[in-house]
């Protein structure tokens, strides 16, 4: 039987197991929306802005591990997706973004709502396609999902000309993929694994530096076994939060610019740094030449280009984190490198740092943002999905909530996209309807995708939006305070709207909290609301700073502690 390209697209998505699409209609995707009108197996979530759709698909992907799918029309629809696509690209999130394109006969003529989408998205996608014939749709969708989810995951854009959506053809979903130029290496080279095992056996002060790659590879269990068996402390990047339990005695928590002092000291003093699924980002390393100066480096990553990009690896291992950690542990074990009580002096030193430089803040009478995050952790017993915006809210959320479970922290790490958290929370809540989902936000960030409140209300999503409202673009203000002589240029947001009224206008619940003693009660009340979002406007201490803070370009042990 012959079906249209648009029908073929939806059939192909079903073959890939897609259950939800986040999207926004428009002229060049009308044939696709016409098919979705009767579609039962795929739920379409209408956002209020294409950027919201991209972030929601990304948040959905992060909490479920599935490929997120978003859909938008040509031109402005597609360009509005780009911030979301770039966000997913920087954080290696599997995403398939489908865009309509003007009919093939109109391509290249500056037609209405035409944009060169494959050209625009080329630097921010793992791969992209312009589909001009209906017959190509099944193969392209098959390839797109394969590329998005395998190897180092990432976003793939599929731009489909309108006439290709309309044309009828005989649909058959391919069962094979033919991509001769794409063969990710999953298994680490035995010789390198042997070299790494030897290095680990000889090390006296090792540290594991784990990144988001642990989560993409679903390797948290293997990381835990590896660390416990070899008695090696673990620090995670912000993207790696949840990859190793924060409440574990070997946890050093986050490292880097706003990492814990003890994580940064441990990295600077270690004699072996085992990087797994992490990419030596500048927010982690600070001044690169002085990063981990006494350490040899083992670098495990599925992307060969990450190895040697920023830091030279003594032992490079290209492979999947899950498989490689398993293989490496076996190798160390068989070499007899797992005797009990290993690294005792080193762990004792770390314990001393932990006691001497704990993560802390000045507890004053005023409402402190850190305290709010601590209370969220307390009342949810650490069992919640925490989405964040970008800035101080993000760092406090990273520092003061204890992440014991993979895929429980959802934040724009690489791109640092303000306005990410709320739509991502929508995607997260749809992907995990059972979970308690928070968006920890600032008063700046929340206004960047506030329109998605409608999406959350319409879909009865009980997201808890915690606004740490300090009437400032807090992180920028902090830099201005510390590095620009307190010249608060364009960071004062005192003319914000009343966020409680705004939320209520959208049909959400909302409260304002001004005193520390009201925090717990308000949070408990928010948890009781199950059928709509609730915005908690916490009026917090205005000029609170995030510490520790490694000023840009400094070595990570040269941090300001308070």
């Amino acid at each position: 039987m012959e079906i249209t390209g648009a029908q073929a697209l939806i059939e192909s998505l079903k073959k890939e197991g897609v259950e939800v699409i986040f999207g926004y209609p428009g002229g060049t995707v009308l044939p696709i929306y016409d098919v979705l009108y009767n579609e039962k197996a795929i739920r379409h979530i209408l956002t209020r802005h294409e950027q919201g759709a991209a972030h929601a698909a990304d948040g959905y992907a992060r909490v479920t591990g599935k490929v997120g799918v978003c859909l938008a029309t040509s031109g402005p629809g597609a360009t509005n997706l780009t911030t979301g696509i770039a966000t997913a690209y920087m954080d290696s999130i599997p995403l398939v973004a489908i865009t309509g394109q003007v009919p093939t006969a109109l391509i290249g003529r500056d037609s209405f709502q035409e944009a060169d989408v494959t050209g625009i998205t080329q630097p921010i996608t793992k791969h992209n396609y312009l589909v001009k014939t209906a017959e190509d749709i099944p193969r392209v969708i098959k390839e797109a999902f394969h590329i998005a989810r395998s190897g180092r995951p990432g976003p793939v854009v599929v731009d489909i000309a309108k006439d290709a959506q309309v044309k009828k053809f005989k649909f058959k979903y391919p069962d094979k993929i033919d991509l001769p130029g794409y063969k990710p290496t999953l298994k680490g080279h035995p010789r390198q694994i042997k070299a790494a095992a030897k290095m680990i056996s000889l090390s006296k002060r090792p540290v594991i530096y784990a990144g988001g790659g642990i989560l993409s590879a679903n390797a948290a269990k293997e990381l835990l076994a590896f660390a416990e068996k070899l008695n090696i402390p673990v620090t995670t990047t912000m993207m790696g939060l949840g990859a190793f339990p924060d409440t574990h005695s070997l946890a050093l928590h986050m490292l880097g610019m706003h990492g814990t002092a003890y994580a940064n000291y441990a990295v600077q003093e270690c004699d072996l740094l085992i990087a797994v699924g992490a990419r030596f980002d500048d927010r982690v390393t600070g001044h690169l030449p002085t990063f981990a100066p006494k350490a040899k480096h083992i670098h495990i990553d599925i992307d060969p280009a990450e190895i040697g990009k920023n830091v030279r690896a003594d032992v490079p291992i290209v492979g999947d984190a899950k498989q490689t950690l398993k293989d490496l542990l076996e190798k160390v074990k068989s070499a007899g490198g797992t005797e009990k009580g290993k690294h005792e002096a080193w762990l004792k030193q770390i314990e001393e740092w932990k006691n001497k430089y704990p993560l802390t803040y000045k507890k004053e009478k005023s409402l402190k943002p850190q305290y709010i995050v601590e209370m969220i952790n307390e009342i949810t017993k650490g069992r919640a999905i925490i989405c964040t915006e970008v800035g101080q809210n993000q760092m406090w959320a990273a520092q003061y909530f204890k992440y014991d479970n993979p895929r429980s922290f959802v934040s724009s790490g690489g791109l640092g996209t303000m306005g990410y958290g709320f739509p991502a929370a929508i995607g997260a809540q749809i992907g995990r309807p059972d979970a308690i989902v928070f968006d920890i936000a600032g008063d700046g960030s929340i206004q960047m995708n506030m329109q998605e409140m409608t999406t959350a209300v319409n879909n009865k999503l009980p997201i808890k939006i915690v606004v740490l409202n300090n009437c400032f673009l807090g992180m920028v203000r902090q830099w201005q305070e510390l590095l620009y002589d307190k010249r608060y240029s364009a960071t004062n947001l005192c003319n914000n709207p009343d966020l409680v009224k705004v939320a209520r206008a959208y049909g959400a619940e909302a409260m304002r909290i001004t005193k520390p003693e009201e925090v717990k009660k308000a949070l408990l009340e928010a948890l009781k609301i199950k059928d709509r979002p609730v915005l908690l406007d916490f009026v917090v201490h205005k000029e609170e700073n995030v510490f520790p803070f490694v000023p840009p370009g400094q070595a990570i042990n040269e941090m300001l502690i308070d």
Binding site: T118, Q122, K126, I147, Y182
Partner: protein, 160 residues
Amino acid sequence: MRHTISVIVENKPGVLHRVSGLFSRRGFNIESLAVGTTDKPNVSRMTIVVEGDEQTLEQIIKQLYKQIDVLRVFDLPHAESFERELALIKVHANEKTRPEITQIAEICSARIVDVADDSLMIEISAEKEKVENIQKLLDKFGIQELVRTGKIALQRGSNS
């Protein structure tokens, strides 16, 4: 250091943009780039001359491999490769200068491919240095127009 790399790609729309875009956004310098099809119609070969140290070269090769349409990448060691560049040079000529220009072309193993009243067109296929040399020699006559293909290269012998 200058490196010549061969990039074997699937002959798909946009592949040149993918490769050139990668170079510009990662800050790698392209000195020249030549593209053409190979013996297989669905496969093209790009010969790219780049400037950079060993670490940069390694990153370039790894980043190129990440492109789905890139099938193979290899560094062509100068000593083991046969390298050529083609140039067409249109130079001012009159009765007086024509013999001298013809002689230069002959010495440089170049060919005269077009003759007009006031100009000569010279074709040279040679290594980069020789192309630059003839260009220098012809300069004093007044070069009207010049076009160079950029380097193409293949590894010698039965390898690759």
